[in-house]
């Protein structure tokens, strides 16, 4: 299994090269890969069908307890076969559909990447691996939807799909981590046996909410359904493969997979049933409002996904049986119909239902495929779709307080499915027409063979349900229920209630089809409602995010140095105050009062000198005066150093102060006089901030000085300066001996500053240069 995934990724990235070497024959290796995996999975299937779960382990991040674990049971096998089997056909189809497209290699890269990711998703035996592959499918889906990158609508649809499913993916990750915490393992096979542990855990509810968010966004459930119809901007093979048969079912797969872990609770059941139910009805309703073939198919897909979610929610054995059967049936007929729509689009250049007619004469094989798939979709004997529909009705009619709601819902969607099936399988192909829609390109084998094969599979499975399909589906529903299943699928159950309802569905569906034009005319009347739809909310949110982010950035990063500094200082004050507030030491000034008596006269004079110098500095309007005042402050400070036993520091300070004044005078004497530039209100703000800052710093010093300094360094240097460093001036010895490398660093800093100054002085700006 690991090799299959690896081969998929390798081949995906080799696709553009292969396209360059092989030209149009690139389709051969690309289709061969899924076919090989398909056959490989078939060889594994006897073991799985016998009831064994196959596992495979590759160490991935063992320190985090995340292993690349593969796990194959009935459910994964069903999905994996669907992905590779359908994948093979899609690869062939894409070769015909995008024949001669210059970017065919890239298309295959994305498509194979997606297929591999999807395969990894269903085969993963570790929930973190599920997440990784899940995200990979979102990304490859984004690339595929936006494949026609020169179209604005393609790009925005792709982004929309990515944002919606990406958001869900984020929620999913949170949910999976919580599930892992609750179940104390990330390994799927272990987790599957710890359902009780998880459902009774305190984290169950948040985990459930997050997981459902992930599953619902991926499977286009209400209110996240809006991205799926937009995703139809993708080339048709993509729509058929990702957005009807595989990727959108990833959410359903996740729900099914986790049913033994998370399922069975009221929250689980009701949420799935309500959301699934709304989605089913809404999808069916919206499907009648469109004329674009792909849009109609997209909405019926949403409806079908809703049905699958509802069935998972009901969670009884018949519901699970109906779920897996309908899943397979839907993949077969919906995939076919998408391919048919693609063929029609390719051949006639339009997908408008009202303009297409009488195509059976010119597109013989495509129309056969459409007819077969349509009959399966309508649930007509002896197609596989019929079995699916019967089981859906039976499951929804089971004894439960909601049976009539559930039944009404599936009946309604069934009716719409029939109408759509008639329109697509019969209306545009077989209905008599005086002037059939002309073809721009003839039908090609590479285009009509895949749908024909898929549609025939629907017929064969319907006629021979006992062969391979039944055991597989049994194992698949076992994976969800945890109990052995023994159901048999058969076409004929006798004259049961469900059969009667099926017939009724078909009849009413035909009525809906007859009146579909009138239904369409309602579309414009409902359009006002779309304003409040989630699609519009999405647009609003997206725009809000963009303008909001711009505004926030413009406010925070406004380019004004002083507001940056003010922010830094404010944060600093806040942090100091906060940490001193919470169990910080209290200031006891009283103990220090005796120090006042030690004050000397010249100290007070120095202090007064500095303060009055500062006052002068603020009043001064002249640069030269300011510079002189700065000199006074600096010299006074150096006197302090002398007073408290730091002659070296004092000397340096004196020297530096002198140099600064000299440089100042030399360089800045040509600048204009300065004015007060700040606004009055801002000034008060800044004065307050400055005073607070000064007060905080004073407070910090006073607090610190309450405690004795516990430093062994003083004693160490006092002892060692002469004996080890052969110098009597301890400070000098530290600088040139003990910490000589620090001094070297200091010199380097000075050198860098000097180089910078040199560069600036040498810099000659030419006219027209951008500053």
């Amino acid at each position: 299994m690991f090799l299959a995934i690896l081969a998929g990724f390798l081949l995906a990235f080799a696709a553009p090269l292969l396209h360059r070497w092989l030209g149009k024959w690139v389709v051969v290796p690309m289709a061969l890969l899924p076919f090989t995996i398909f056959v490989y999975l078939l060889t594994l299937s006897p073991a799985v069908l016998a009831g064994n779960n196959l596992g495979e382990l590759q160490a991935w991040a063992p320190s985090l307890n995340i292993n690349l674990h593969f796990f194959l049971d009935g459910l994964s096998l069903l999905f994996a076969l669907l992905i590779t089997g359908f994948g093979t056909l899609i690869m062939l189809y894409a070769g015909g559909y995008l024949k001669g497209h210059p970017l065919l290699g890239r298309f295959y890269l994305y498509l194979t990447l997606f297929m591999t990711a999807m395969l990894g998703l269903v085969l993963a035996g570790n929930i973190m691996a599920i997440f990784v592959f899940w995200e990979l499918t979102s990304i490859s889906s984004y690339l595929l939807i936006g494949f026609n990158q020169d179209k604005e609508s393609s790009r925005s649809s792709a982004l929309q799909a990515l944002l919606v499913t990406g958001l869900g993916g984020l929620a999913l990750m949170g949910g999976l981590i919580l599930v892992g915490m609750a179940g104390e393992t990330y390994t799927l096979s272990e987790l599957l046996e710890r359902g009780d542990l998880v459902t009774n855990h305190a984290l169950y509810l948040p985990a459930l909410v997050l997981l459902l968010l992930g599953a619902f966004t991926k499977s286009a459930q209400f209110p996240f359904h809006f991205w799926l119809p937009n995703a139809m901007a993708a080339p048709t093979p993509v729509s058929a493969y990702l957005h009807s048969a595989t990727m959108v079912k990833a959410g359903v797969y996740l729900l099914a997979r986790l049913t033994p872990v998370m399922g069975g609770t009221d929250e689980w059941q009701y949420t799935l049933m309500i959301v699934g139910g709304i989605t089913t009805v809404l999808g069916a309703l919206l499907a009648t409002q469109h004329v674009d073939l792909k849009a109609i198919l997209a909405y019926t897909t949403i409806s079908a996904l809703g049905l699958l979610v509802t069935m998972t929610g009901i969670g009884t054995a018949p519901a699970m049986e109906a779920m897996v059967v309908f899943l397979l049936a839907h993949a077969l007929y919906k995939g076919t119909l998408f391919l048919v729509a693609g063929n029609v689009d390719h051949a006639t250049g339009t997908r408008d239902l009202t303009q297409l007619t009488g195509l059976s004469g010119t597109m013989r094989y495509t129309s056969i495929a459409a007819l077969l798939a349509g009959m399966s979709m309508a649930g007509i004997l002896p197609f596989f779709g019929f079995i699916g529909k019967e089981l859906l009705y039976e499951a929804s009619l089971e004894e439960s307080p909601f049976r009539w709601i559930l039944f009404a819902m599936s009946f309604f969607s069934g009716m719409v499915f029939v109408a759509v099936a008639i329109a697509l399988g019969y209306g545009i192909f077989w209905r008599r027409s005086q002037n059939p829609t002309p073809l721009q390109h003839p039908d090609k084998p590479l285009l009509y063979l895949p749908p024909v094969i898929l549609a025939s599979a629907g017929l064969v499975f319907g006629l021979l349900p006992g062969f391979f399909v039944t055991p597989l589906l049994r194992r698949a529903s076992e994976a969800m229920l945890g109990v052995e299943q023994t159901f048999d699928l058969a076409l004929w159950h006798g004259f049961t209630l469900a059969l009667g309802l099926s017939v009724l569905t078909v009849l009413l569906g035909y009525v809906v089809y007859r009146f579909s034009n009138r239904l369409l005319s309602y579309a414009s009347r409902f359009s006002g409602l779309y304003l409040f739809g989630p699609a519009n909310l999405y647009q609003l949110a997206l725009r809000g995010f963009m303008t909001g982010a711009t505004k926030i950035t413009a406010t925070i990063q406004n380019g004004y140095l002083r507001s940056y500094i003010a922010a830094i200082i404010t944060a600093h004050i806040a942090l100091v105050v906060l940490s001193l507030w919470e169990n910080g030491p209290r200031l006891e000034l009283g103990n220090n009062l005796h120090l006042l008596s030690q004050l000397r006269m010249y100290e007070i004079v120095l202090l007064l000198m500095i303060v009055s110098a500062l006052i002068f500095l603020f009043k001064s309007q002249s640069r030269l005066t300011s510079i002189a005042i700065m000199g006074i402050v600096g010299y006074s400070a150096s006197l302090f150093y002398i007073l408290f036993g730091a002659p070296d520091v004092a000397a340096t300070q004196l020297l530096i102060e002198t140099l600064t004044v000299v440089i100042f005078v030399l360089i800045l004497h040509k600048l204009p006089v300065f004015k007060y530039l700040s606004h009055a209100t801002e000034r008060y703000k800044y004065v307050t901030l400055s005073l607070t800052f000064g007060a905080v710093m004073t407070y910090v010093i006073l607090i610190v000085k309450q405690y004795p300094l516990d430093s062994q360094l003083k004693a160490y240097f006092g002892q060692g300066s002469f004996l080890l460093g052969k110098g009597r001036n301890i400070v000098n010895v530290i600088l040139v001996d003990f910490r000589a490398f620090d001094t070297l660093g200091e010199i380097v800093v000075l050198a860098v500053a000097a180089i910078g100054i040199m560069a600036m002085l040498k810099l000659r700006m030419h006219k027209g240069d951008k500053p």
């Binding site: 500094i565 004015k675 800052f693 000064g694």
Partner: protein, 120 residues
């Protein structure tokens, strides 16, 4: 003096920050110089003050005898003062160049690099 120095440092910090928050480039430099001065004094006081005895070992002794000032903050200060000087000279030259190139000393005229374009 030990009692008054913390307040003096507070005053220096306030004054320097207020200067830094000005729009005028020249005041910014004055503020920076004062700020580094205040910081140096801050470090010096935090390292405790010793009146009189400097950190020098007498001619007759092999080790320093109390009271002598803590040499560690002094060594730090020396480095800080010198590096501060480097920064000051760099800034002074920078302001000169900026004035020559842009003809302004108003910091508010120099915020174009941080501005983003409005989203449409």
């Amino acid at each position: 003096m030990e009692f008054l120095l913390p307040f003096l440092i507070g005053i220096l910090f306030s004054a320097s920050l207020y200067l830094i928050l000005h729009r005028h480039f020249f005041k910014l430099i004055l503020g920076l110089i004062l700020f580094s001065l205040a910081t140096n004094l801050f470090l010096f006081v935090i390292g405790r003050l010793t009146r009189g005895g400097s950190a020098i070992i007498g001619q007759d002794e092999n080790v320093a005898v109390e009271p002598f000032a803590d040499p560690v903050p002094q060594a730090l200060l020396l480095t800080a003062i010198v590096i501060g000087f480097g920064i000051q000279s760099f800034t002074i030259v920078l302001i000169k160049r900026v004035y020559q190139s842009f003809g302004t000393t108003d910091l508010d005229d120099m915020n174009t690099t941080d501005q983003i374009e409005e989203h449409h």
